[in-house]
Symmetry: C2
């Protein structure tokens, strides 16, 4: 009987095999993620996410697209059909840190029992409304607080947190500039 | 009978009143958005988003929290319970651009019939996996293609697109650095 070497719900043997495959052929590390978004009405838009390219091929594992709904609350003239765009950024950041923490914990043999995040971000609406050139439209700053229960001493958890911060895709996207090309078609 | 002055599903009178209220008291523009995320298992995490502070008070308009699910696809050792974190970033960006475009169109009296976005982002997994110090963990670059049907000549649409890019919170967050404080509690 073959038993999987699972820690934290992560198949560690496959994780190691994935890392080795990419070390042997770095082209396998190239991913292209995609999304399609349709505006509905007012502040409401719907995003569908399904296929992507990665590990040398087009992924077909998702039988149906995920649908994400974005909207504004009434105070921002919307109808609360979903979280707004800057709230979705908080979700993206936390879900990225969770994956990074848990996968790297598994790779180090650390068992995680619980992991939770509280995020907050300050934003001055004068930027979005074009009322001030001195106020940026986006977050002035974000704070992420997290709590972990794991079978490792605190210094190992701190070391892991530091490593996760260095390698988190979404934390990098938020902390550092990413070039974005916006093209109007038609 | 009072009829609302609605364009694109946006109450334009309230939009104008909101801008005027903030011009009179810029403190009303200060918002603090929040999210709470619990790791579930493997690549899966759940985010709840409900309250926020803004316009001088705690918002209570959402009777229940929105729940967003994040996960990885099998090729990235997850179980496809939701889009992954960098895909969620694409949703955040498009839903932000949609709101910006439609609200500002409404303010300018431009009627939008349809608006859709195709986004893609390139990412080299060697950064996340810690296999190279020269590869950043996040997106190397994003491309947003959008198509608009509106009752305005093309140059007005282009002008609006330019303005939206200058004032989009999520585009700013992605294009420019945002300080993020990560605090391990307990």
């Amino acid at each position: 009987m073959v038993t999987q070497n699972r820690i934290n719900g992560v198949d560690v043997d496959r994780l190691v095999a994935t890392v080795q495959a990419i070390q042997a052929d770095p082209n396998l590390a190239r991913f292209r993620f995609r999304a399609h978004t349709d505006w509905v009405s007012g502040g409401n838009a719907k995003t569908r996410i399904q296929g992507f390219y990665g590990a040398g091929q087009e992924d077909t594992s998702r039988a149906a697209p995920f649908t994400l709904e974005g909207d504004e609350p009434p105070v921002l003239l919307g109808s609360n059909r979903g979280p707004n765009a800057v709230e979705a950024v908080l979700h993206a950041l936390a879900s990225c840190l969770a994956v990074g923490f848990v996968y790297n914990a598994a790779a180090r043999g650390i068992r995680v029992e619980a992991l939770e995040f509280d995020l907050e971000g300050d934003l001055d609406l004068q930027g979005f409304l074009g009322l001030s050139d001195e106020v940026r439209p986006g977050y002035e700053g974000l704070t992420v607080r997290y709590r972990v229960k794991a079978d490792a001493p605190r210094e190992k958890v701190v070391e892991l947190c530091d490593y996760v911060q260095k390698t988190s895709p979404v934390l990098d996207i938020i902390r550092n500039p990413v070039p974005v090309k916006v093209v109007l078609e038609g």
